[in-house]
């Protein structure tokens, strides 16, 4: 069974006073297999976030439906963890409390939570920072906590909307490697939105390119590069070729005035 089935999902935002309705997403269909790492590329405003939000249950599709492990999505739930571009740690909770948030909502007792938290703190390399507040962390560290927080719930699917978009290039590179490590050990299905072609290829087992607004999927490229990957891969000729190819796909879509 596919992990995610997106069936003819489209989204139109109703008109605001006197304006036109916005077609954010023309109906798209898409099947994502278990354990795939799917990245979605596309110009700004093409509906990437909209699609991800619909899968996450944060937005309703105007047409179509989304099935996750065969069950229709009707709202957000802890089976689909999300990581956002903006830093969404709860500022009033410490790192450990943030990671435990979902477990607490589930009603897991404190003693059981502590073990899980400790485990994920280690996995994202934040030992010693358990009792720091988010404001005391750098952007990269915050996003690592956000990933740990989403994973602690043990979701079937991880939805990531430009999670490294606000990080600087070097930190970003390191985060990509970390994420791949975690993906390989945890074996999650990942849907990852990004603007960065290099990132999209480096991470993906399959890379989608969306066309400009209103979005539809215009390229669906399997990335056959072997895992584990590290940053040297980015200089690999196959990688550079794939990158040129995706660049050409996307480039036509972005215009200077967009």
């Amino acid at each position: 069974m596919s992990a995610v089935e997106i069936k003819n999902v489209g989204r139109v935002f109703p008109a605001r006073r006197g304006g036109e309705p916005t077609v954010a997403l023309t109906p798209v269909s898409l099947d994502i297999a278990q354990n795939e790492f799917v990245t979605i590329l596309g110009p700004s405003g093409c509906g990437k976030s909209t699609l991800l939000r619909i899968v996450g249950g944060l937005d309703d599709p105007s047409t179509g439906e989304v099935l996750v492990n065969g069950i229709r999505v009707v709202g957000p739930g802890s089976d689909r963890g999300m990581v956002f571009q903006s830093y969404t740690l709860f500022p009033w909770l410490t790192v450990a409390e943030n990671i435990a948030f979902g477990l607490r909502e589930k009603g897991m007792p404190k003693s059981a939570r502590d073990g899980v938290v400790q485990d994920y703190v280690r996995k994202v390399g934040l030992n010693g920072f358990e009792h720091h507040w988010p404001r005391q962390l750098s952007g990269g560290m915050q996003q690592r906590v956000a990933i740990a927080r989403a994973l602690a719930n043990d979701p079937a699917i991880l939805l990531m909307d430009e999670p490294f978009g606000a990080l600087d290039n070097q930190t970003r590179g390191l985060m990509q490697e970390l994420l791949l490590d975690i993906w390989q050990s945890e074996r999650k299905t990942v849907l990852f939105v990004t603007h960065d072609i290099e990132e999209a290829i480096f991470l993906a087992s399959r890379c989608l390119a969306m066309s400009a607004r209103p979005g539809r999927i215009k390229a669906d490229v399997p990335i056959a590069l072997p895992y584990p990957r590290d940053y040297h891969l980015k200089a690999d000729p196959t990688f550079v070729d794939l990158k040129m190819r995706m660049t050409e796909e996307i480039r036509g879509e972005a215009t200077l005035v967009a």
Binding site: G56, L58, S78, T88, F90, W92, F101, G102, N153
Partner: protein, 266 residues
């Protein structure tokens, strides 16, 4: 940030060293008192209109030592704090409910927005009728003066909670009530405390109105009494005492907020 040479402190936004800041602050107070002293001691202003600084201090001293003014101060403080706490107890939960549920907001917001403009002082005759001339009436003046402001500001704060935090909580499996209790409320708490601090600042001005009209104790009552005797020294002393109390209460509130919400520090 910007550190720029040449004529440094004439540059806009150029910060001053801490010591200079303190010195300038004192300087102005000193100038103010000096001007006041010159006007009064120099005989430019009749003592009938304006007591000299010295006279003011003497009057203040005699108020404190002979006329048990500290009791009036205590009464005034109790009224403000009492009315304010009452208002906060009602207004904060209501504000949170309004901020969280738009149905509640749609129901109450227009009414509260309107009620906010009803001047508490104009209610005094009605309040005497309804609640007599005791403490209840004074507390109610403070209450009416604060409650609508707090409701609106709290509702606004809660309504402004970062949507991405709420959505993150939903994707982590939070229930609707969980969102309110474990996201909206903690996220708004520092701003709510800040609102309370602000409104408390205004409450000090209402209490004087309540005391100017129909009361037998409190700083405002003392001022009315002094007016009868044309004792401007006492009036000024009373005004300054209120100013100081306001400043102190503000400072305490700020300190408490810093302690309560260390995570929200800049």
């Amino acid at each position: 940030m910007t550190t720029i040479r040449r004529g440094r402190y004439l540059r806009p936004l150029q910060p001053l060293p801490g010591a200079a800041k303190l010195a300038f602050g004192f300087l102005f107070f000193a100038l103010f008192v000096a001007a006041w002293g010159a006007a009064t001691f120099g005989g430019f202003v009749s003592p009938l209109f304006l007591a000299s600084p010295l006279r003011m201090v003497q009057e203040g001293w005699s108020l404190l030592t002979e006329y048990n003014f500290s009791y009036d101060i205590a009464v005034t403080i109790w009224r403000v704090v009492g009315g304010f706490v009452l208002a906060a107890i009602i207004a904060v939960p209501l504000g949170i409910a309004m901020g969280a549920w738009k149905v509640v907001e749609a129901l109450l917001e227009p009414f509260v927005s309107f009620a906010r403009y009803l001047p508490a002082s104009a209610f005094i005759p009605l309040l005497i009728l309804w609640a007599g001339i005791g403490e209840t009436q004074k507390l109610l003046v403070i209450f009416i003066g604060s409650v609508f402001q707090i409701i609106l500001m709290v509702a606004f704060t809660v309504g402004q909670t970062r949507r991405d935090l709420v959505e993150a909580a939903y994707t982590l499996g939070a229930s609707d009530l969980g969102i309110v209790k474990r996201v909206l409320i903690p996220a708004s708490a520092p701003q709510i405390a800040e609102t309370l601090r602000l409104v408390l600042g205004w409450a000090w001005t209402y209490v004087i109105v309540a005391e100017l009209i129909g009361s037998s104790s409190g700083i405002g009552h003392m001022i009315v009494d002094s007016q009868a005797m044309l004792n401007t020294g006492q009036i000024i002393f009373g005004i300054i005492v209120i100013g100081i109390i306001g400043l102190v209460s503000d400072f305490l509130f700020k300190a408490a907020n810093r302690r309560l919400f260390p995570w929200s520090l800049a």
